[in-house]
Symmetry: C2
Subunit: 679 residues, 2 copies
């Protein structure tokens, strides 16, 4: 028996090994992984020794690793003095006091039976290597251990960022910090802080105190908090780029400083979504303001790059101001884009004066803009390719908008150097610096923001770090699951907040039938939630509905879809798959009966009665289809068209939610044998 | 159909309402609750106004209420200025700067359709009333609301405490703070901080720096942290009583100050459990030390009461010291208890000198001890009754030891004024001040300590607050479930830590079959874990086994047991119960197959293979019994005795765990109809 077991194990191991990616649960996948034999066991004697430069940032990184490894394994480490270290770390160059774009981030990590060695040219690389070491440690029959391996790693792109919008909904510092921990875990190196928008200005300005005094509803960061956050990010090898969006998206500036606006105020951030003005680019005073503003903020945010937004300028406020129209005419400007270019040109000079490089969205790219600027594209690879051909650097955000609720695989497939960018010369390609995931905050609160960002952000991090040919979707999902658990133990709430939100909806009732429903729904995609809102968004409304708790992607739907495919591909012979399908369908068929009283009793859940009914109908349809398939009996007349009508109904969004198991149930129904009556 | 459904609903509602306690989910149950009609809806306009004294502690309490209510409902409050407050709060007397025993804690709370009014003679009472208001708010069909009600409330006992031992395992300040939040939620008013024991001295002393310098392994609280925690507790109406256990349980003192010990050192806290000495009560220097020590600590801890431990003094260290023996003889002392009395008498004078009242465990009660002292009894009501008859005050801890893993109902049944105490005169009864739950820390870490304390501590809090006739166990469990959810949203981890611990054991495998097993097991009771350890406890070992993650009481086992009883009492006719029993048994029958690979692959779970097998066998036995019962068929010969042998096996602890569903399965097996062959 023992021999037989071993053989079976070998076959499984070989199959796993023959996948396109080695099955270590690393994310992002390193550039080169060479697996050895044996493993390094983690015991209470675990310790780390640092040699080379004794960079305090590296020492702090080692302390975080030790603390995190202790939390993950539950082992209180207590190395005896005099024994040799389990992990030795050596970096040759300290972290810069202000992190720079393009710093060497490479590292090499070797694990053997007897110890691990991490070397890197810089502390930055060593910090990345520590994260890899942490991901290598897993539990096995003889304890926690890291497998023997040699890893040589460096990022594919230099700019791997996450944007968090803190204007639409304010996100407190502690929530940002845990997200920085998450970014560091997946080797992202740019935190893009979207600090102002129509709905709120979030940074204390001592020069212009009315920016937060009147434009933040009291929700802003003090300069001390910002310095603290920047130091926190710096310690983790993460640059912090502030964005102050202008001349559009800037109503919050005008509440305290209405003279900046293109039409008369008063303005308020109390109102719902939608702009009320844009900055007036024709007044000299605007540039005096921006000069002082950039001077102050440029010192507060030490990074060399400074984001001025520049997107979605609503020209109607310029069109309706006669003085602005006269100005355009006097300066021979034909379009509002010309006027914005004029604004940006002046702004760029102010930034240069204060030693900053301008970053902005697609719209800032206009003839004669200096080549130093960086274009962030929400429009796509085509836009970046055009910029690169003209010699401009760019970063991609199209396809990485986390707020659009896309399935993970769709984000994973977005390749910065595809489409028009694939045809660029190597020199032009080098101008594409990387990309940024974007978490716009219309529909998030501190409570659910983590679940909108994670774990999907980890695969965007992989896209920007790992070699271009790391694209296996199954491997990605497997590894994302592992990293998601690691992120849990870092304190991120992407997996835990939903449960609390479900309990809030359920009151003291047993939450399990609600969980069954929540497990198979996803929020509507793209801008459908905006469209469904049919009017301005009230940014002060509670976000406590099922749509706010639901994960962007349903694991259960993914697994069920895979099961159905497996069953169909087996020619309906795979009995294990059939049995598992039946278990799911039965659960859904009878869940509504258990759930209904709760849905009726909770003001937050009444809108979900129809979707719970739909799930029951899908369960019933699927069970009948399975019966026909298993027995090989033909379905009765009319059955299929009735069921397809039910499924069509179940595919329509209810309360902003999609039933993602409708499609695989439809596959079952369509596969059911038909009566071959009259044709 | 609609009418029928409504009727069924009405019957259920009536049954619930006719229980002995009103079914508001309040814990502790107030002294008087009069339900009205209607309810007060909580909207975004919710606000609180404070009148009477403007005690900063009350203002802070109101802010905490608002924040917590916002977190629980998910509603961001934004009251318009000028509108009248939803809740008005009035207290006449500020919180004392040092909280005193016996302060008026009463309050009155009236909720109507249009608003709520809370009045109290003191801030202390008002703080309790705010907690009651928070518990009244639940979700319903028309939103979050508090039902119309008039509550008049005051505690039954003046001393309602929780002891947390931070010596055996160090518990950081943030963990203590969230537990103070939990205490405030259930109206407990004494935090008993067990700050020193053999395994560690946890308070910075500036007079005797070697206490932590050598006796804490670096794990201690600075004086600033202690002052901060005391202020935090004070704001919540909680007194902080320090305990420095002496002359026993004090090895950690001797590491830095071996001259205090009764036998020569050196001493170390590195060693495993068990004493190494006790304080030498014969040396004048001991009292000089204690005088300076009490002076310093007495200032740090402002409460009038000061706990000196005094329990479990191991006389062998005195017996083996000839000088101590000579001292005893010279002073005419016959026993070591006499010697300890001599020690305590001197200690009591030192405490009095520094304006402190002595509290100690049962052992300190000896003839001639001043009547001011307070006896804390780990021995029982009898011990307190004897003390009260002699005029001593006492608090009960017997029956409230949370570390013994008792089921909740067993703690709930422990009545301070029962047994010998029931026969005391009213004046003597008044000497019994209340009680304290005790969380001894041999088997807890910061990770799982909350789950050992909560939610069971809430029912001890109720026993000490609510009228003596509040004893309905079903009502208690229902209300405890509700308070447990409230404690979740306060940040306590009693419900969430287990999941993380299970994930640690499971690695990246699907954790659900492990959860099925974890849901039906409980740690062994009383001191069996100590006994099973067969030797000293290593306080540095990881606490990451299933026994460390398992809840003290299995909800599933409770529910299953109730189902089985219901089924048996129905004469095996209750088909709904039968079907639910079958679902559970089937789940358990087949869980081992899913769980086994994980158990084999994880070093932390291998010890649980046998208990998983036992669960499968229980499932199989139960299913067979159910078949016989449902079909009315007699069982075959030998079947019952075989099954009972299996169940006996399954009742034995495995890896420190008890399978709590074994007993109800046994009930089913014993109920199965027998062949009436030859008798």
């Amino acid at each position: 028996m023992r021999n037989l077991a071993s053989i079976v194990l070998c076959i499984i191991a070989t199959v796993a090994y023959s996948q396109t990616q080695p099955q270590l649960n690393l994310m992002p996948m390193p550039a080169s992984v060479q697996q050895g034999s044996g493993q390094l066991t983690i015991t209470q004697a675990f310790s780390v020794a640092v040699s080379g430069t004794h960079d305090p940032a590296l020492e702090a990184g080692v302390q975080r690793l030790t603390k995190q490894l202790s939390a993950q394994t539950g082992i209180p480490f207590r190395a005896k003095e005099g024994t040799s270290a389990t992990l030795t770390v050596r970096a040759d160059k300290d972290l810069e006091s202000v992190l720079k774009l393009g710093e060497d981030e490479s590292y090499q990590l070797t694990v053997t039976n007897s110890g691990a060695e991490l070397t890197a040219p810089t502390t930055l690389g060593a910090l990345h290597g520590l994260q890899t070491f942490l991901q290598l440690v897993t539990i096995g029959p003889s304890g926690f251990a890291a497998p023997a391996v040699t890893i040589k790693d460096q990022p594919r792109f230099r700019w791997r960022g996450l944007l968090i919008d803190v204007s639409r909904h304010f996100i407190p510092i502690d929530v940002l910090k845990r997200n920085l921990d998450g970014m560091a875990a997946v080797k992202m190196n740019v935190f893009h802080w979207h600090l102002s928008d129509d709905q709120g200005f979030r940074v204390e300005s001592k020069v212009f105190p009315k920016l937060t005094g009147m434009g933040s509803e009291g929700k802003f960061y003090t300069q001390a908090e910002i310095r603290d956050l920047i130091a926190y990010a710096h310690d983790r090898g993460i640059r912090v780029i502030p964005e102050f969006d202008t001349p559009g998206h800037s109503r919050s500036w005008f509440v305290g400083y209405p003279e900046l606006a293109s039409n008369p105020g008063p303005f308020t951030v109390e109102t719902e979504s939608g702009t009320s003005s844009v900055t007036d680019p024709t007044r000299e005073e605007t540039y005096k303001f921006m000069d002082k503003f950039v001077e102050e903020m440029g010192k507060l945010f030490p990074d060399q790059y400074f984001h001025i937004g520049g997107d979605e300028v609503d020209g109607k406020y310029w069109d309706s101001n006669p003085k602005i129209q006269a100005f355009k005419q006097a300066h021979g400007m034909k379009t509002n884009a010309d006027l914005q270019a004029y604004y940006n040109e002046h702004l760029e000079k102010i930034l240069t004066k204060h030693h900053k490089i301008m970053v902005g969205w697609d719209e800032i790219l206009r003839p004669d803009v200096p080549k130093t600027i960086v274009i962030q594209s929400w429009r796509g690879q085509q836009s970046l390719a055009v910029a690169a051909q003209q010699g401009y650097r760019g970063i991609l955000s199209y396809g990485y908008y986390l707020d659009l609720m896309w399935p993970t695989a769709k984000h994973y497939a977005i390749e910065p150097l595809s489409g028009a960018a694939a045809n660029l010369t190597p020199e032009q390609k080098a101008l594409i610096l990387g990309g940024e995931a974007c978490q716009w905050a219309e529909w998030v609160t501190p409570e659910n923001v983590d679940s909108h960002i994670w774990p999907r952000n980890a695969v965007i991090a992989e896209r920007l770090w790992s070699p271009q040919d790391v694209t296996d979707v199954n491997s990605m999902y497997t590894r994302m699951h592992a990293i998601s658990l690691e992120l849990d133990s870092l304190g991120l709430t992407h997996n835990t907040a939903r449960e609390e939100m479900l309990h809030r909806m359920a009151g003291t009732a047993d939450v399990s039938p609600l969980r069954v429903l929540a497990d198979v729904v996803e929020p509507v995609k793209d801008y459908n939630r905006w469209d469904d809102a049919k009017g301005p968004i009230d940014f002060h409304a509670p976000l406590t509905r099922l749509i706010d708790a639901a994960y962007p992607e349903s694991d259960t739907a993914l697994q069920f879809g895979a099961l159905v495919n497996q069953y169909i591909q087996s020619g309906y012979k795979d009995q294990t798959a059939a049995s598992q399908i039946r278990t799911w369908l039965t659960l859904w068929r009878y869940n509504d009966g258990k759930l209904r009283p709760m849905l009726q009793q909770s003001s937050l859940l009444q809108e979900d009665i129809a979707i719970s009914q739909n799930l029951a109908m899908l369960g019933a349809a699927g069970l009948q289809a399975l019966d026909y398939l298993e027995k090989g009996q033909p379905e009765p007349d009319l059955w299929k068209s009735q069921q397809l009508a039910v499924i069509d109904q179940a595919k329509k969004p209810v309360a902003g939610l999609l039933l993602q198991v409708a499609a695989p149930v439809q596959q079952l129904v369509e596969a059911a044998p038909q009566q071959s009556a009259h044709n």
